[in-house]
């Protein structure tokens, strides 16, 4: 039977924490930037001109139907031939933003479409411009409607980010891999980093619930 020996993992725990910290930073930055991309694209997709809609659709379809691993690979190794050289963390961030942006666009578009037509009409009748209606009337309720989907997509993004180790970004999964191949204590390492991912997703869920309470405190009609 297998003897668990967590000593080497404990000894290098700071390394794992450092990795987790990068995972957190990367995912948070990717979410914020990805959210902006999503909102802009969702606006473009629901009310932009036809060419913009076509481009946004192509973007969404390509990203959603190919693996993240391949996307990040092309960004890191492919973009230099176009003259854009990014650091591993930079490339990881860009890849995560591009990925989250595609999913986020679809989610937020659904939110926008769930807004009752009457809201837009009321804004129109008051003389607000299309952009003003989007900004002041549609956006907040739309985000509230899809907030649960957005947050679970974010957790998924954080878990997916473990792939960035392929381009040598030093996230939690990378730290785990380093540690396990230095010590060969694979089970111990995997168990610990699984728990760390779980802790992070539970932590994020709690933070999102708090943000929900703060940002969307207006009551819903019953």
């Amino acid at each position: 039977m297998y003897d668990f020996n967590f000593a080497p993992v404990v000894a290098s725990f700071d390394q794992l924490l450092l990795g987790a910290w990068l995972t957190i930073r990367l995912s948070c930055a990717a979410m914020l930037l990805g959210l902006i991309v999503s909102i802009v694209c969702a606006w473009g997709k629901t009310s932009g001109p036809a060419p913009a809609r076509f481009v946004i659709n192509a973007y969404i379809e390509i990203i959603r139907n190919t693996p993240f691993l391949v996307q990040i690979f092309f960004i890191f190794f492919g973009l230099p031939s176009l003259g854009l050289r990014l650091s591993p963390n930079g490339a990881a961030l860009l890849a995560l933003v591009v990925n989250f942006g595609a999913y986020g666009t679809e989610i937020i578009r659904a939110g926008i479409e769930s807004i009752q037509k009457g809201q837009v009409e009321a804004g129109t009748a008051l003389g607000l411009s299309k952009l003003q209606i989007f900004r002041y009337v549609v956006m907040k309720p739309a985000l509230r409607t899809v907030y649960p989907s957005l947050t679970s997509q974010f957790i998924y993004l954080m878990l997916t980010s473990s792939v960035v180790s392929v381009i040598s970004a030093d996230d939690l999964a990378a730290a785990g891999n380093d540690l396990q191949s230095a010590t060969f204590a694979s089970f111990e390492v995997y168990i610990i980093i699984t728990l760390m991912y779980l802790a992070m997703s539970i932590g994020f869920s709690a933070i999102f619930a708090a943000i929900d309470r703060m940002a969307f405190k207006y009551p819903l009609s019953r």
Binding site: Y2, F76, G78, S81, D170, A182, T183, F187
Partner: protein
Amino acid sequence: AQTVESIKSAGTVKIGMMVDFPPFGIMNESNQPDGYDADVAKLLAKELGVEVQIVPVTGPNRIPYLQSNQVDLLVASLGITEERAKTVDFSKPYAGISIGVFGASDTEVSKPEDLSGKTIGVARASTQDTAVTKVAPQDAKIQRFDDDASAVQALLSGQVELIGVSNVVATQIEQAAPGRFDQKLELSQQVQGIAVRKGSAELLEAVNAFIAKAKESGELTAIHEKWLGSPLPDFVTEAK
């Protein structure tokens, strides 16, 4: 603990090897495991008088494969280190590589101190990684990729200035981009062993006997010639 007896009675030996680590382990044109490790594994099975079943493994899962009884032993280009020897038992060396730092021809590096401020790519937690980390000054930036192919790709696409690789991979870079890169430093030599689960002393003895015999008979050198184009290096032959 695994014994020779139980392997013989099963009639097959399950050997784990990497298939993405040329030329030690590859998948050939007909999508079968092949390479130096594969040939050694077949030879070992013949010696034991059993069938061989090659199980493809990857860097992260090769040790779990061994520990969870999915394979009897690993012929998976495992570099022998003290740290690792705490988890598995290594045989006498059956192969070896020498590690060097590679870079574009116009990059000036002649001694480890010159690595200062440079970015160096390596395969994560490989022998190369250990070797480069040991000599590189504090301000050298080491980027760890999942495998050698990615590290090489990073060099080719300019994402890193230098990479730490084995002489074997260096030959392949030369094929891919003739004349653009050359070796800057020779760092260390690393011997590789066949691994068995801890406590399988009797099996280990049999493996060691096999290795000694294969070295003696020149079979190992022949395989080495076939895959690496050179005889078994002295540091392997002479290692204790």
